[in-house]
């Protein structure tokens, strides 16, 4: 536990300094931890796990500036994941109070790892619904891996507009994810 805290923390700290391969490794490893954490706590709602893993990852990314490297990473990640979990449970208790799955027992062996990896909600579809000034920067910079300068040339946007578009677009995406479940 301690070693994974240390390793993840050093990966994130390097990621925050601009090392995107360290950041990629951080997110990959974090995903497994988040999935295990959320699966345990969403035993009654297994179909929500992968969606919440994705929502939490997006939250971690959007809120990464709120991590203080002087403090334990575990506490930060736990607080984020717990917040997203409670948010989901609140939403659900409002909408499907009477829609509790009753066939839980028969579900016990159904949920394997690969099945859980399919989120019900498609982030790619939600991405398409974003306005162009946010969608294009995300597609070029985040999906196609173009530089900000290259994206600015192709879209005719300024470089700062591209950066703002990525940032606001991911936030808008998180809001859409929240509202769609």
């Amino acid at each position: 536990m301690l070693s994974s805290e240390e390793r993840l923390r050093s990966l994130l700290v390097r990621g925050l300094a601009g090392d995107s391969s360290a950041y990629h490794a951080f997110l990959r490893e974090l995903t497994a931890h988040l999935r295990a954490f959320l699966r345990k706590r969403l035993a009654r709602l297994p179909e929500e796990v992968e969606d919440l893993v994705q929502e939490s990852l997006l939250a971690v990314h959007i809120q990464r500036h709120t991590y203080d490297p002087g403090r334990p990473l575990t506490a930060w990640v736990y607080a984020l994941a717990r917040y997203k979990l409670i948010d989901l449970l609140r939403r659900r208790s409002r909408t499907d109070l009477f829609n509790d799955p009753l066939d839980e027992e028969s579900q016990v062996f159904v949920a394997s790892d690969t099945e859980a990896c399919d989120a019900r909600r498609d982030v790619a579809k939600l991405l398409e619904a974003l306005p162009e000034r946010q969608r294009l920067p995300i597609i070029h910079v985040k999906l196609e891996g173009l530089s900000v300068a290259e994206t600015a040339r192709r879209t005719g946007m300024s470089e700062s507009a591209v950066k703002v578009g990525v940032h606001r677009g991911l936030k808008a995406l998180a809001a859409k994810i929240r509202d769609s479940s």
Binding site: L27, Q63, H65, R71, Y78, C117, V123, V141, L143
Partner: protein, 214 residues
Amino acid sequence: MKTDDLVTLLATGTEAVDAKAPTRRYLTAVTLGTVVATSLVAGLLGIRPALLHDALEPMFLVKEAFCAALSAVALVAVARLSRPGVRLGLVPVVGLAAPVLAMWVLAAVALLATAPQNRVDLVLGQTAGVCPFLIALVSIPVFAAMVWTMRGLAPTRLRLAGAAGGLAAGAIGALVYSLHCPELAAPFLAIWYVLGMLIPAAVGAWVGPRMLRW
């Protein structure tokens, strides 16, 4: 989209994160909010002409210290509540309770030292009817600054964060309002100033879960 693809998307093209940006944003917001609140007092209510004279009174310094201490502690509480995984801790709670308790003790002493027929005047002063509302009014720009700051961070206990933001706004509002306010009696401050700070705190607790959600 598969989770692995989302991870790749998030990690692609990331740039260095400016670790000092949140603190800068917070300080900018508080400063701007306070400046707007001060111009609100100067323009709408007027700075008290006898302010310089008051400044020599020990009770004036007590009043300023009271508001300043509560402002500082509430600002610390907001900063802590805005970062996931940072505990509020006992320090802000004690730091908020201590000045209020001290002011109540001062108020009790002042009331006991006053003849019974004059006590009501000491409590009500000349402006008890408007004081809490004017403090709440003056705190509005600071309140907006608090909400803006917290929305740029990630509070996880929204009602508490909203209350802390409202309290910080109220305490700074009271500090700024004291440029106009003629009251110096401890019993007055112990009731009406505290009430004026609690109005934005209550509003913050009320709107926090909606306005601060992320």
